[in-house]
Chain length 243, copies 2
Amino acid sequence: MSTIRGARERARIEVTAAIKDEARRQLAAEGAAKLSLRAVARELGMVSSALYRYFPSRDDLLTALIVDAYDAVGEAAETAARGKAGLPAVPHPARWLAVGCAVRDWALAHPHEYALIFGSPVPGYTAPQDTVGPASRVGQALIGLVRDAYLAEGLAVPPQDAGLRTEGARMAADLAEDLPPAVVVALVAAWAQLFGLISFELFGQFNRVVEAREQFFRHAVQELGRSVGLLDGRHSGARGAGG
Amino acid sequence: MSTIRGARERARIEVTAAIKDEARRQLAAEGAAKLSLRAVARELGMVSSALYRYFPSRDDLLTALIVDAYDAVGEAAETAARGKAGLPAVPHPARWLAVGCAVRDWALAHPHEYALIFGSPVPGYTAPQDTVGPASRVGQALIGLVRDAYLAEGLAVPPQDAGLRTEGARMAADLAEDLPPAVVVALVAAWAQLFGLISFELFGQFNRVVEAREQFFRHAVQELGRSVGLLDGRHSGARGAGG
DNA sequence: GTCTATAACGAGATAGAC
DNA sequence: GTCTATCTCGTTATAGAC
């Protein structure tokens, strides 16, 4: 909990934030590979050794930036998935679209942080265990959304692929044991494909190819929703509670 | 064409290749951001100024690596799309799958070159015009494949999205005027999504999520083929020659 | 205890004189 | 082409201020 605990801790939090802010600035300018503790310290008017009170190493600073970025997209996705409380329930396909758009909006607003977590691996850096929780938040938001739809109105469960029987069962057991394996498989694929669309737009592959980026994205994301079985109209599908 | 033209040119070609090989090695070790002409020269036992006779700048060397990488994936995709000459005609969905697998195989065999072209942009580098031709080869291979299917046996043309009428028409005019706009839209989306699958696998997002990577990929790529209208069985769809 | 500053190490890049 | 003087970097040891 963030109770007031004295000037000591408050100062520490502020300095930590300032270091990360400056590091993010350098991330944008020079890229993750060239992120340097000395340059961060210089820009903040500190001496480089002082930074080690806050981050035990350069890689730990990078890890903090990565975790922050995952948490930021994750929260954007979760908020969009929840829908506005109090308002009439938003249909699940619309929420799916909202999650996609929220992720894309965050990516467009923070392209370098997006590249940090979804782009090329940083040479010489290997992500520690701390990142796996935050890294799963967008995926978890999608799983929760599809689970809600499954329990509320059912899904058009995609056909099973015989070659994926055991892997599908394993993935379902790991990620969402209450969902049909075929849905989990389609969900993981849609998750990766969603970021494929965003990465292509952000990394320039859509230059001279797609112009109405947002419209194109919305269309493609809706199709992805269909691919996991989300029902757009008044059709009925396999129900969670046996239907 | 590559006729023998004398020792001079042959030597130049060999040195150029050696430079690029060494640069690729550094790409793998340190990343594109830290690619330095000096280090390449040192490793080759040359002096840095000598490199400028082969590549006028670091960015030109980078561009050469990028073009080579695009050409390599592009050729892999084209070869897979063609199918083996002389053999009985491979059905189009199988060729689609073959293209996807060829791209993935190349990516797994050349992860750093894949990251160079499909990963985060290199800070401070902007791709020149020379890269756009090679960059389009995989997409062109997919377009050609779908066009063949359309003309031969028709496609299950996906429904039009009203909001994408004008953009779809524009994309079709640019990329494949003989295909229905809805197919072109689905094709571009599938193209981006295909690389989304590969990037997630290569960049570590599938760690602890997908284990049977190849099976999963093949399944997802086949679904992508369906999403552009490729007919898997003996169904019939809208034919190219009016049907 | 908590922080910052000084100084140093070994490694690598860089610029310029020769 | 070569050599050297001068930068950068991550990191640590140490000493002193609050």
